[in-house]
Symmetry: D2
Subunit: 283 residues, 4 copies
């Protein structure tokens, strides 16, 4: 598939990546977490999710979690671990498609506001309004003026949500370039994942640096006191998923909370954890 749609330039990038052996990189652990250890650790966290769900119902609280990250970063998988145990009547996953022609003429945040939770609900955004800052920028789907307007309005918008009492969490799942390539190549090989490869994935691959640039600016402009980013390294999916759960549970004051481990600081932290130079091309 990669061969068909981007025979040269891309293939070269991939081979190049392999030659420079970027696979291991700076990841703080030498090997993936063991599956059984993961399952053991997951169980009590999912039990906490059940308590969180119960508390949502009784307290009428609202939770919004934004999941962002490059393609293959594992947004969907992390979201599914939460969706698996919670009721579809309480937890909603919102993955908006590209704006309709009408939505494109509305206030940019409008279609997201429509999907905010009512009391007693939790909404997970699989990509979010940050599309304008990143994907739309990289692919030229918005004008620079639209993006500038977005950044101007962003802090006020997010402040409103927080001020209104919504528990608001922003998670950036971070994947290294090497790992992204590995996953895309795996998709190519695995008949199952093959079908997951979308045109935008492949195109995105060739735009690593534009992404990097857009992400850096996004952190700079939107990592605010009221609505800070949490960066979670997701090269190891298991560790990342645990950290996602630990972080979310840690942020929300649900009733009956057991003491749970905080997320591993080696893979979960502020945007400082996101160090472009380490994954950068060097070019």
């Amino acid at each position: 598939f990669l061969e068909e749609s981007a025979p040269k330039a891309l293939r070269e990038t991939v081979e190049d990546a392999r030659k420079r052996d970027t696979l291991a990189g700076d990841f703080p652990y030498p090997r993936w977490m063991d599956k059984d250890d993961y399952k053991d650790a997951l169980k009590p966290l999912q039990l906490e999710l059940m308590k969180l769900q119960h508390w949502l119902t009784t307290s009428g609280a609202r939770v919004v979690v934004v999941f962002e990250g490059r393609d293959t970063a594992g947004k969907g998988g992390a979201i599914n671990r939460i969706a698996d145990v919670m009721s579809h009547r309480i937890l909603k996953v919102q993955a908006l498609p590209k704006p309709t022609d009408r939505e494109a003429r509305e206030w940019y945040f409008q279609r997201y506001v429509t999907r905010l939770p009512a009391g007693g609900e939790m909404v997970l955004f699989d990509r979010s309004w940050y599309n304008r800052a990143i994907v739309e920028d990289v692919f030229g789907f918005c004008t620079p003026a639209q993006r500038a307007a977005f950044f101007d309005q962003l802090p006020a918008f997010e402040n409103l949500l927080v001020q209104d009492g919504i528990h608001f969490i922003k998670i950036w799942l971070n994947v290294s370039r090497a790992e992204q390539l590995r996953r895309l190549l795996a998709r190519e090989g695995d008949p199952m994942k093959h079908w997951k490869l979308s045109g935008i994935d492949v195109k995105g691959l060739g735009k690593w640096d534009s992404y990097t640039h857009a992400i850096a600016e996004t952190f700079e402009r939107s990592h605010t006191a009221a609505a800070p980013w949490t960066v979670i390294r997701s090269e190891d999916k298991y560790r990342a998923r645990l950290a996602v759960l630990q972080h979310i549970l840690g942020q929300i004051p649900y009733e009956g909370k057991s003491s749970i481990d905080p997320p591993d600081p080696a893979i979960c932290g502020t945007p400082a954890l996101w160090q472009p130079e380490l994954w950068d091309d060097g070019t």
Copy 2:
């Protein structure tokens, strides 16, 4: 009708009002505008509305006008003079009913955001989010904490709309107490208007002072540089409607604008024009 539902207290208020002969009051003109003069003045303004409509379509601009005011202030009539000449496909009137149980658990502004115009549209809100500041306060439909939260969020919310390029206008149609009484009594007499009398009208009448207090606070908290209020005295409906049109047309930079008279400063101005002491009970 008045007799049935509020036999004593209210009737007394009305009689009292009559005794003190509050009818004329401080209105700057001794008599209503002549109907023919009104029609002559209306015509060119409605022509300008047609140009405004044309410009909306070609420019993709968005306009929001909030109409607020006490019962009988003439919001509906002023809105209808605009709706009469514009296309239903471009001009939308939004008059939201009381929030559903679900909406009551959402971010307060959410259901209004859903109704904002797309490019090329104009939305007139017949009552608006200011319900929380006034009606809901007077009738106890919200808690003081909810109202405080509303005022805290309001400037940021309206700023976002303005910053996004929406032409945003807030009009307060102001009716004196005497004139309000006169209109309600007229409704009672006129079989046609009789059906317009709602329970809340009658109850509202007895709450003049609570309204006054809520309005004063609203002006204080929400008359901002980005989103200022325009107060239009509406004792004389014709003069008020002309002023509404003149004000709206004056604020919007549509193409092909003819020079039109500015609204009459004797009946259209800042909240300073709203002088509670003049209509106040004196208590």
Copy 3:
């Protein structure tokens, strides 16, 4: 304007129309209704509307009225006479723009279902799902297969609404070719109406016969027992508006109904009143 955008063919049609002096035609009255007579007749009907509105609120009934007709047939004006006296919180006018790209991929009736009234509301559709049968057909906005599917589903769809207890009324405002030309020419002349001329108006003019054909088929397929059409000749706007009100009021069993005149059978009736041969080109 006509000259600019369709210099030849159209102008010829217009001149042609003038030459053949089609203006008077077969209209059953020699002259327009007198304005004062109209106003006198309108008043009691609007009073009935107030009762209807009151009844909506107390009974929780639902009313849907579909307004269809060629351009310039006077749909907007008839709607506004109702909207003028009813509350924006009870009466909603729905004038949907062309479908968004997403709506185009949905069940055709979906976006209309979304706008159906809740109990206590009345919705007037300024054009409706019948777009697919007529405008979309004439302008090629839908495929023949889509139109066939529309007609197949239509009776079942409308039956569902009626079966559910919605008071459902379909009104076809009918304008003769001569009168349509006259009105478009008037728009051209009148600076006020000039701005109302849309591209589709002018293009529509040249498609009189395609329209006629589409309309004939529409009546044939959709004039059902459960949801019959009422045709109202609208060459004379005043008479048409009165007939619209009389017809609607006659159909709805609101409380306190006074005896009102039935609509004039010379201008209001079944689709038999629509006689294409009389206005037809003859070609």
Copy 4:
């Protein structure tokens, strides 16, 4: 929990169920499916789901699957196995809460129509409009007249969807009384599932027979040629989930379909498979 909220009657039912040793019952297999066998069988089905997803995107087809069944029947789990592998941008899960006060005054099907898929989407309803036929009936949330109206409109409504080309599938997950009791008791014991026990679960338990009655009537009235029910026995969750996937994949003509096993006829079939007498109390 069971003890607290329904100390006697319910406990007795449970003990009773144990005494009569209804656990095994008539289930066609003596033991649960082996977990590893399940995983092996699941994998190729999920691969097929990826192809189905790809085909949705390229063909613009629409799929609706209704999941119904008593509490603990495993609707959520079956849905999650699908959601796990599909994109949140293509697959939507709809689990509507109880109607808002406004929705309660609308056409009953209206809020479901709003959630139908656009082209390229698949919607899974976790409970659906069948609430009116079953849950609302059992708990008295609707009047008999409303339920009768529902059944009257149902075939026409579902026909419209099918006629419009939506791939429409209705699955009834069937759990025996003994197994339902076992699962509720397990929830009571398992701290994790404990939080899943809702008041309605417990109340529902005492209403087994009312449910049975409502279900029988539902099958009778809604198992139509255009929109037939598929009953899947879900005592064994693994077998049930496989059958769900096999059934859905079997019904949809996606491109590149591999030959997959049909669902096991011992646990998946028409409503004939649902035999109330076997699980019935006998009372």
